[in-house]
């Protein structure tokens, strides 16, 4: 058996934080390597290194025995590595056939011109679609086919490159059971043809069924790479967890009260979330855990009125919500700390004070002309910043951009504090900030709860939810798939629910 790909001691850091640290893996021709790990374990970065999307800081890669240093995605696929991304890269305004051949149309001469050879495109597209079992007209535009069909088109595209190595990053998330089965049959055929594949999935049973060997990653490092026979689901999960939690979290100072602040009753939106029920009480921190793409962020956006829901109801503080808009939510004292500070939460170029005052701005308006009372606004902003122990210079002068990630996050929270929210929806509030700043954010969350706010704490870091929450809800594939009280907290059990390892065939 020949070694096709050899990754040696590869390291990649983003802004000083290592996403992949000295990882070595090997892959034989005609084999499937399963790659597993929690969100943020470094799987995607490792694949981006192999796929030429990012370049390593150190370490080497050998492909087909020769040194392999792709400078961009095109370099990787010319070398013979096809990468099927989790996010689809199809052009919705073009036909299936055009998507498959967009970078290299077969052409025929027409005078001095090289015209697209439509007959050849049609013919070859039909053959490629047949390989993945899609019975669609090559002329259908992508926006007319279902998500699962799109995924299969993407796979067909990767196959037509005849690449000896194919990377599948979570290919089954939008596939139906039947389509998934078809994909697996196809992967087995490809393996028999001698092609190698790397298969990333959160569905551990699929990995067990497909892979020849399995690599487990945790915190940017390789835990182990061993033959498939050495694994079962239980061992896989325990290898993925294994981190201790000591003194990373402040003690909780108050217990939840009995009054319900937020009640979500049967919220659904087709293809996104299904029949969501949850409650948040006064003074309670409720964790919402789920893997990437489980629908956490989408649910949060719906609860705040940013995306529409199709059925179900929402009751805030005993009042049923009738109009779902962010403006209405703010009026009902709901705050939403977004997942993406840079793009959604903060205006980076304006001052800290102006950022902090943004949500509550109408409250500072004076006289019939609604002129903003600058001095009062700044006083309030200063007050909020001092409560949160914001580390900055003059908040009136300094732009939000100049702050560290942790302090930026505090500005986002301060912004909402001025509006006196009763309910906080926090989506990944500690993403990308260092351990010390995380502790401060946790303390703020505890104080908010102690002061009687209800908090819906969304995170893909299970440890922080276990450290901070009174209750944890697990989301999977757009549904609530488990609920755990504080005395039942157990990382492995919760993770197993997120992976749907109990009584579910998917």
């Amino acid at each position: 058996m020949t070694t096709l790909l050899e990754v040696q001691q590869i390291t990649k850091a983003f802004f000083g934080v290592a996403a992949v640290k000295e990882v070595s893996i090997t892959l034989e021709a005609g084999q499937i390597l399963g790659l597993i790990g929690q969100n943020g374990a470094g799987k995607s970065t490792l694949m981006n290194l192999i796929g030429g999307v990012v370049q390593p800081d150190s370490g080497t890669m050998l492909f087909k025995g020769a040194s392999y240093t792709p400078r961009n995605p095109a370099g990787a696929y010319h070398a013979g590595i096809a990468f099927i991304h989790q996010e689809l890269n199809l052009f919705t305004n073009l036909s299936i056939a055009e998507n498959l051949f967009i970078e290299d149309f077969p052409t025929r001469s027409f005078g001095p011109l090289r015209l697209v050879d439509r007959a050849a495109v049609q013919q070859r597209t039909k053959e490629m679609l047949a390989k993945v079992g899609l019975n669609l007209s090559p002329n259908l535009t992508i926006d007319r086919i279902s998500p699962g069909e799109r995924q299969l088109v993407e796979i067909a595209k990767a196959l037509h490159l005849d690449a000896p190595l194919i990377i599948f990053d979570e290919p089954t998330t939008s596939l139906t059971a039947r389509e998934t089965e078809r994909l697996f049959t196809l992967m087995n055929q490809l393996r028999e043809q001698g092609r190698a594949m790397i298969y990333i999935s959160h569905i551990l049973n699929d990995v067990l069924a497909l892979a020849n060997s399995i690599a487990v990653m945790r915190d940017g490092q390789l835990v182990t790479q061993e033959p498939r026979q050495n694994f079962d689901v239980k061992r896989m999960i325990s290898l993925m967890v294994g981190r201790s939690i000591d003194n990373l979290y402040p003690p909780r100072t108050a217990a939840p009260q009995s009054q319900t602040l937020l009640e979500v009753d049967g919220v659904s939106a087709k293809g996104i979330v299904e029949n969501i029920h949850l409650t948040v009480k006064r003074g309670e921190v409720v964790g919402l855990f789920g893997l990437m793409g489980s629908g956490r962020t989408e649910l949060a956006r719906m609860l705040f009125g940013m995306d529409s829901i199709e059925s179900g109801s929402l009751t805030i503080n005993g009042q049923r919500v009738t109009r779902f808009t962010p403006r209405e939510s703010i009026r009902q004292h709901v705050a939403f700390v977004t997942e993406n500070r840079r793009e959604e939460g903060l205006l980076m170029n304006i001052s800290i004070a102006d950022n902090v005052a943004l949500v509550a701005l109408p409250e500072f308006a004076r006289t019939a002309f609604q002129v903003v009372d600058q001095s009062q606004m700044r006083d309030s902003a200063r007050h909020a910043s001092s409560i949160l122990q914001l580390k900055s210079g003059d908040i009136v002068q300094q732009p939000a951009r100049s702050l560290s990630g942790g302090n930026q996050q505090k500005v986002v929270i301060a912004k909402w504090l001025l509006a006196n929210p009763a309910i906080f929806i926090m989506d990944e509030p500690t993403r990308g900030i260092d351990v010390g700043a995380k502790y401060e954010i946790y303390s703020i969350i505890d104080q908010l709860a102690a002061n009687g706010s209800g908090i819906l704490f969304i995170s893909s870091e299970l440890e922080e939810l276990i450290g901070m929450c009174d209750r944890i809800l697990v989301m999977s594939r757009g549904e609530i798939f488990g609920e755990f009280d504080r005395d039942q907290f157990n990382a492995e059990t919760i993770l197993r629910a997120a992976f749907r390892e109990e009584g579910d065939s998917l």
């Binding site: 696929y77 305004n93 967009i102 015209l115 279902s146 793409g293």
Partner: protein, 344 residues
């Protein structure tokens, strides 16, 4: 089976064919109010007058398809016409060589836009706004703000009829057909649509996006010069305000023709109709002796209505692009008509 499984949706039909419908409605309305409007003489006349806007709109469509914009086309028309006109006057250049000079100037103008946009990564709006001012400035400096009267041979060129069809319409038709061929049959044509749909995905797919983007601005420059030359052959003189503000007619005609300002959506026949529609409205308003000062407002209203349609179409599209987490078995049926093949 196939026919019955395809639901006919009136709103979808209206949105997708808004230009043609509007065109027919306006044509019928003007015709009813003034029977002379329907004569072939009048029809040919307003199509002729629409030709240069149409050529401009076709070039603009290429740019809009990549989600860019070219504000400099009016100034490009002026500068290329000024340079070729001055050479006709000073060294007695003949019409065809003068046309070639104009096209070279216009293409170079487009290439300069492309250079700033692709290599210096400046947003198209700012680049072409600057070259709009600079281009007209250079032209004014060259002519010292004087009007250029073009020679007789240019006037007779503008009057050429082939089989009863005026030369501007013939040039317009050729440009539309060539552009149609480029957009639908050449690899770069399809890549223009890909870039406009999702530039990041286009890069990942290995498309040379810089080359695609540069070529649309160069083509737009070429079309502008051609349009400028056609206009010059009709009015026979080039003054300081020659073709001023024409970029807005071009954008309006293109958007009127179903081109999305968000990129990736559109074809060349829509803008062709759009340009003729704008001219038809103008002519129709004159026919009906509508107050001269109200005319721009009526034109603006029509443009507003179509841009409104564009945004409706776009929000419809946005709904289709939502990310799905759960497999939806009947997604195809829910979002749109089921694919034909499945019916068999």
């Amino acid at each position: 089976m196939m026919a019955s499984s395809r639901r006919w949706k009136p709103t979808q039909f209206l949105l997708n064919n808004s230009t043609l419908i509007l065109f027919l409605v306006v044509f019928a309305l003007f015709g009813l109010s003034s029977p002379r409007f329907f004569t072939s003489e009048n029809t040919i006349n307003f199509i002729k007058q629409a030709s240069y806007t149409g050529i401009l709109a076709v070039g603009m469509t290429f740019v809009l398809l990549t989600a860019g914009i070219d504000l400099s086309v009016g100034s490009n028309m002026y500068l290329s016409a000024v340079i070729s006109g001055m050479l006709m006057r000073s060294i007695g250049l003949d019409v065809i060589p003068a046309l070639i000079v104009a096209l070279l100037v216009g293409t170079l103008y487009g290439a300069i836009n492309a250079f700033f946009i692709v290599y210096l990564r400046i947003v198209p709006f700012m680049v072409t706004l600057s070259t709009l001012v600079i281009g007209r400035g250079i032209g004014t400096a060259l002519t010292e703000s004087q009007q250029i009267d073009l020679p007789e041979r240019m006037a007779s060129f503008g009057q050429i009829n082939l089989l009863g069809i005026p030369i501007p319409i013939i040039v317009f038709a050729i440009i539309v057909l060539v552009s149609y061929l480029i957009l639908t049959r050449l690899p770069i044509g399809r890549q223009i649509y890909a870039v406009g749909n999702d530039i990041e995905a286009a890069k990942k797919a290995g498309i040379n996006t810089d080359r695609v983007i540069a070529s649309v601005y160069i083509f737009s420059g070429f079309c502008a010069a051609l349009a400028g030359f056609i206009l010059a052959s009709q009015v026979i003189r080039i003054d300081r305000s020659f073709a001023e503000g024409r970029e807005f007619d071009a954008i309006a005609a293109s958007v009127l023709g179903g081109t999305s300002l968000f990129g990736g959506v559109g074809n060349v026949f829509g803008p062709m109709l759009g340009a003729i529609l704008i001219q038809m409205v103008q002519t129709g308003l004159q026919f009906n002796q509508v107050n001269l000062y109200l005319q721009p407002m009526v034109r603006a209203l029509i443009i507003f209505i179509t841009v409104f349609f564009d945004s409706l179409r776009e929000s419809n599209l946005a709904k289709l692009k939502r990310r799905f987490i759960r497999p939806v078995e009947e997604a195809g049926a829910m979002l749109h008509d089921p694919p034909e093949v499945k019916g068999k």
